[in-house]
Symmetry: C2
Subunit: 444 residues, 2 copies
């Protein structure tokens, strides 16, 4: 194991990778660590005291596992607070019924209840053809479902995402008073999903909320019979001045190339409903598990292994941007970065943003990983936190778990520890550790 | 689509397979059918009125989807009833605590409470070395966990299975009064798991129950401090005379080879706790979905497609044995059979019991299936229900879903509809339909 990459043999590599999976499946602490993160600390939005507690927890845990060094890296983050009033109603035929809604992250609040007639659109472009008369002084319901025909649910999410991120400003350009956005999930249920939205400069800032898929579909049907129906939304959310929080960084120093870094990370912050279990508690405890496992196996890496618990992925990416800016400033050589931010499900492969040499090297390693269910090498998106590191010399990898269930939980009250399977979580951690080992030994 | 296999082209096949996944992901009724089966009928053990209702339900549904013919095939099945008393207790230091237990299928009941000192063993062979003195008049706890290091949880189940199937008779040979068997699951929780056991001839029949993993581990620890502890078990289960029930069979007649059959099936019976959602409601609604989908696409198969809802897989396999015996008696040519009985999770591949020509043909088809997450071709076990069809001329396939979570639910109160993801279930159904299409078009 301490031989240089050129001396490692296929058999020795296979045996060491088997020992990684054995160590993780027999002794992993990832699932129990996730329980503590989710149950003792809970959700942890940027700026919140829970994120302060999570930073402390991560620092303590990485030190306890015996990292060579652990330190904090200061990051300024936004501070938005949901508050305790999120009420939706539909008014119809003189009576009213509740709607399950939740403010989108960054939304302005309402003054009391905002009540207005409803207009439904599927595409942002539809606003242009519908025109100001049909939109002005109304609440707009963006109601385009995620495309069920896409096998990759991440792609379906990407195809519906604009409604949430840009819907409010686009509707406000035509005088809308507020927007409701169909929750980005394939699940048909009554849980509303939150997530980041942005206001465009010099456009009025109008309140924006996610609405459950059941209620979005119900409004779609109700509008056919009752185009005059009205909806009410009351949101108590509010933005406060930025706060200082911190990425947590732990290192195992490399024996041969201590100044070349392999980064493994996820994000410590989460949305403020549910527990951030899959998104991205899973990636956090998997990253920590990689460190625990390599140390438990007595592995001395050739390159420096750096575990980074990023903050503020959800609403700003200031953690990832800060990390990359400081790395650049210091002239640090980042050889590779691996992110886990797609849920704690059974691993199926890795996506990568890397040159042909690295891509082909990874493909040549698949026989090492296939016995553990890792079959896919895909060019493409790696992860939000590590993306700012992207340049020609850094290979970026994203763990690709099976993602059919991911958006059932994502950004909702259902993203809780109980919905993370211990073995699926562990197989992901072991697969990342195996990739770290291969990158470290066989630098392409 | 109606061209013979020799004329089908790679592009046309790819396009048709895409249309199968599209039809299923957009219009599948499998998840809703599973809801009805699980919630309106519930669990459905052989001999039960619920299985009668499920047979009626399956017959009606297959006819409604427009099968060319639907009929029942009479099968004699065992009739064992759990009854309403299943009580476990540990007696220690003058007080007692409850233990979560559930009778193994086929166990005799107790007369009131059976109370005795406990002896723990890990392997059946340990009974031989421990000897009669330490076993006689005691209750034996078989407490070997499933091996966490096996990636395939089915293999781990197979490696721990003998405790449940044969433990009672092996312990009774040394005079034991009863047995408790650690539940066959990786989950550490308080749900006991049931499953089939068999008594050997001319060995006393002693009561046998599954015990939750939490309580099995608790007893392991308690025995270290208190080897004198006693446990009590009270079971009200009882066997009744065999009953006549039925496999349900539906056909789409083949256009070219109507007398050559491709069978797709799962089992309609389930254990009598939980709802039999993954085991094997999933396989049932997937098999029905294959028929619905092929008809919805206007596909006219060359071979006759036969959907079989088998009965009595769990405790006898009389459904599978009867089907195969009648097929043999009639001289029916079975070209291939596909079973789904490993849970309604994301599909990862197919296992097969087939000759080299068929195996290599399947491998050559993987590029058609990889876009949908089906990467694995594995030689090995197909399925209990179709296994009696095995001979040199029948190719047997088993759908291989991701099985990390399967034994969390299997044979327990957790095997309910809520734990089956709609898209994962649908991808399995579409993958079976795609394999049916390839077998039908490109007979190897």
């Amino acid at each position: 194991m301490d031989t240089p990459g050129s001396h490692s043999t296929q058999a020795a590599d296979s045996i060491f990778i088997r020992s990684i999976y054995d160590e993780v499946l027999a002794n992993a602490e990832a699932h129990e660590n996730l329980r503590v993160l989710c149950k003792s600390i809970g959700h942890r939005l940027s700026g919140s005291p829970q994120l302060d507690a999570a930073i402390e927890w991560g620092h303590t845990l990485l030190a306890a596992y015996g990292a060579d060094s652990v330190y904090r890296q200061s990051v300024m983050v936004p501070h938005w607070i949901r508050g305790n009033r999120e009420i939706g109603r539909v008014y119809l035929d003189g009576s009213d019924e509740p709607l399950s809604i939740t403010a989108l992250g960054g939304s302005v609040g309402t003054e009391g209840e905002l009540r207005a007639p409803l207009v439904e659109v599927r595409y942002l472009e539809d606003l242009d053809s519908i025109g100001r008369n049909a939109i002005e002084d109304r609440i707009v319901l963006f109601n385009r479902p995620m495309d069920p025909l896409l096998i990759n649910t991440g792609a379906a999410y990407g195809g519906a995402f604009d409604q949430r991120s840009d819907g409010a400003s686009r509707a406000a350009m035509y005088g809308a008073k507020g927007v409701l956005v169909r929750s980005l999930t394939h699940a048909l249920d009554t849980f509303p999903h939150t997530g980041a939205m942005r206001y465009r400069d010099s456009i009025p800032r109008i309140p924006a909320a996610g609405i459950s898929t059941v209620h979005a579909s119900m409004l779609h049907n109700a509008l056919k019979e009752h185009p005059e129906l009205e909806v009410g939304m009351e949101l108590s959310c509010e933005a406060f001045p930025d706060r200082e929080q911190a990425n947590v960084i732990a290192e195992i120093r490399g024996s041969e190339f201590p100044d070349e870094y392999i980064v493994i990370g996820g994000h410590l912050d989460s949305w403020d409903i549910g527990e951030g279990a899959h998104d991205d508690g899973a990636g956090i405890v998997q990253s920590i598990e990689v460190l625990r496992t390599l140390l438990a196996l007595g592995y001395r890496p050739r390159h420096t292994i750096r575990i980074v618990l990023f903050v503020n992925e959800e609403n700003g990416n200031n953690g990832g941007e800060t990390y990359a800016a400081i790395a650049k400033e210091k002239g640090e050589v980042h050889y590779a970065a691996i992110e886990s931010d797609a849920g704690g499900f059974s691993p199926r492969g890795f996506s990568m943003e890397a040159d042909d040499v690295v891509y082909e090297a990874f493909r040549s390693w698949l026989p090492y990983l296939q016995p553990y269910g890792v079959h896919v090498a895909r060019r493409g998106w790696s992860g939000v936190d590590i993306r700012p590191l992207k340049d020609d010399y850094v290979s970026l990898f994203g763990l690709m778990p099976d993602n059919q269930r991911y958006f059932d939980y994502h950004h909702s009250a259902r993203d809780v520890w109980e919905n993370v399977n211990k073995r699926e979580l562990e197989l992901g951690a072991a697969s990342i550790a195996a990739l770290v080992y291969l990158l470290d030994q066989q630098k392409p």
